[in-house]
């Protein structure tokens, strides 16, 4: 089966690069001591089958968000490929990039400001995506927006309230409604519950599971929180200093981690 999302030998470097870092960053850092180039990620490969949930874990600076940003076509790779349903889309620009982001991808950012306009109403934020997808009739858009807000458990009477007055958990739910508005085959989640308090975090995670079961959307979840990954992902990759150091079935990597860094990560869990 063709993966809905595939990343092959993805490398992102910020800086000029030099012979000493061209073959990858030095082992214990992402920054080249010779030329100062920072490697966001180095030769990362992963793939996501339809309906599958893959987690990426790693500490801050491990490169997990860089991989996600490449998948979302925010960052062009230095080398390597990003394929959506088999088509190489790395470096897509202009109308093609906009179309891919509306039809093939949805994203939930860690900070709602990245994904939403806080001065605009909940309904308006979601409608923006439908308009980008070519929806034109006001009544159709209104019906779809209300349906989406209901699906993410937001009170529909808040549809005309600016998102800026919403709580953190509610803002994340608006982001989910917006991301899923066009029924994309791939949903990217970047630390979707960091910054939420524990009870809201549980509710949001449960909602994400629910939406996954109902829509069958494939998900790539980036998190530094192993509990989040355990609850959502069936497979996971562990990243450090821009490289994938281990991958496998989630309960195997968490139950019998092989790499020194994965062992550290698992043992550091509360």
């Amino acid at each position: 089966m063709t993966p809905v999302l595939e990343v092959r030998d993805l490398t992102v470097r910020y800086g000029p690069g030099c012979p000493s870092c061209a073959g990858g960053p030095p082992p214990a850092t992402a920054r080249c001591p010779a030329c100062g180039t920072v490697t966001g990620c180095h030769r990362v490969s992963l793939d996501l089958a339809p309906g599958e949930v893959l987690g990426i874990v790693g500490e801050s600076g491990s490169g997990k968000s860089t991989v996600l940003a490449c998948c979302n076509l925010d960052v062009p790779p230095t080398s390597g490929r990003v394929l959506l349903a088999g088509d190489d889309v790395a470096g897509a620009e202009g109308a093609r990039r906009r179309r891919l982001r509306v039809e093939s991808l949805g994203i939930v950012y860690q900070t709602p400001q990245q994904g939403l306009d806080l001065d605009v109403t909940a309904g308006g934020n979601v409608a923006v995506r439908l308009l980008a997808a070519g929806w034109r009739r006001y009544d159709d858009i209104r019906v779809r927006v209300l349906e989406l807000l209901d699906a993410v458990e937001l009170p529909v009477e808040r549809v005309d309230v600016p998102v800026g007055s919403f709580s953190g958990g509610m803002r994340q739910r608006v982001q989910l409604a917006k991301a899923l508005a066009t029924s994309p085959p791939v949903l990217l989640l970047d630390e979707p519950t960091s910054g939420l308090d524990v009870s809201v975090q549980a509710r949001t995670l449960d909602l994400i599971r629910d939406l996954h079961e109902r829509t069958g959307v494939a998900m790539l979840v980036v998190s530094h929180d192993l509990a989040v990954i355990r609850m959502l992902a069936s497979r996971l990759v562990v990243m450090r200093h821009g490289r994938v150091v281990e991958s496998g079935v989630t309960d195997q990597v968490l139950g019998d981690p092989q790499h020194a860094y994965s062992q550290l990560l698992v043992s550091a869990q509360l």
């Binding site: 509710r203 995670l205 139950g255 092989q258 790499h259 062992q263």
Partner: protein, 224 residues
């Protein structure tokens, strides 16, 4: 015919956090499970009983050896299978009951069992048969006692008719009456043709359940 054949299974834990310290839990272990049989494994705590089940279920990665599953579809070597094959095999052919249930916030006991492909009425009936009180059915197991959680865990693992079941002290947290109920449910699955490998602290006396008892000595299984 054998439902599951293990050959030369060795499992070592290497802790990089303790300077690469190694401990060998399973050493060149062989095991044959006849189709429709129930094998019980006993032995002291920490002897590695659960590690056998976890290697078969692939929660642990074996160092060497093969774990060939022959029932419920084509032959699969779980020691060498890729991640997706492991996940498919678990879903369709290989069940695991553990002492601990990872609960999901907000999901009720009935929902968790129904998620295994049963309708809600049937899911509730299974939980009642195990002895879960009616007023608990619609509550999330996050609020349950250890024993109640174990009942939910057993109901989840037995919900699909998987041909091989791994049971890791499936009744450890249950009172004697509920232990009998759970064992009778397991026996029901055996009579329907399932092959069972179970770790027990104390081998249950329920007639017809356990066919042979093995014990773990120096990382290998021998007759108890």
């Amino acid at each position: 015919m054998s439902a599951l054949v293990v050959r030369g299974l060795t499992k070592t834990f290497r802790s990089h956090l303790r300077g690469g310290a190694e401990s060998v839990v399973l050493r060149d272990l062989d095991l044959d499970l006849a189709e429709g049989s129930c094998t019980a494994v006993t032995g002291p705590s920490g002897s590695g009983k659960s590690s056998i089940l976890r290697c078969i279920y692939r929660t642990y990665l074996p160092d060497t050896g093969s774990i060939r599953l022959h029932v419920g579809g084509g032959e699969v070597d779980l020691a060498a299978a890729d991640d997706r094959t492991v996940l498919t095999t678990r879903r369709e052919r290989l069940g695991l009951v553990t002492q601990f249930l990872h609960v999901i916030p907000r999901r009720s006991a009935v929902d968790l069992v129904a998620a295994e492909g049963l309708d809600r009425g049937e899911a509730a009936e299974r939980l009642r048969r195990l002895g879960l009180a009616d007023d608990r059915l619609e509550s999330p197991p996050a609020t349950f006692s250890g024993g109640e959680r174990q009942m939910v865990g057993v109901a989840i693992a037995l919900a699909r008719p998987r041909p091989v079941l791994l049971l890791d002290e499936p009744t450890a947290s249950l009172d004697p009456a509920r232990r009998d109920r759970a064992l009778r449910e397991v026996l029901r699955r055996k009579r329907a043709g399932a092959t069972l490998l179970a770790v027990f602290h104390e081998v249950p006396a329920l007639p017809g359940l356990v066919d042979r008892v093995l014990t773990l000595r120096d990382g290998r299984l021998v007759a108890a």
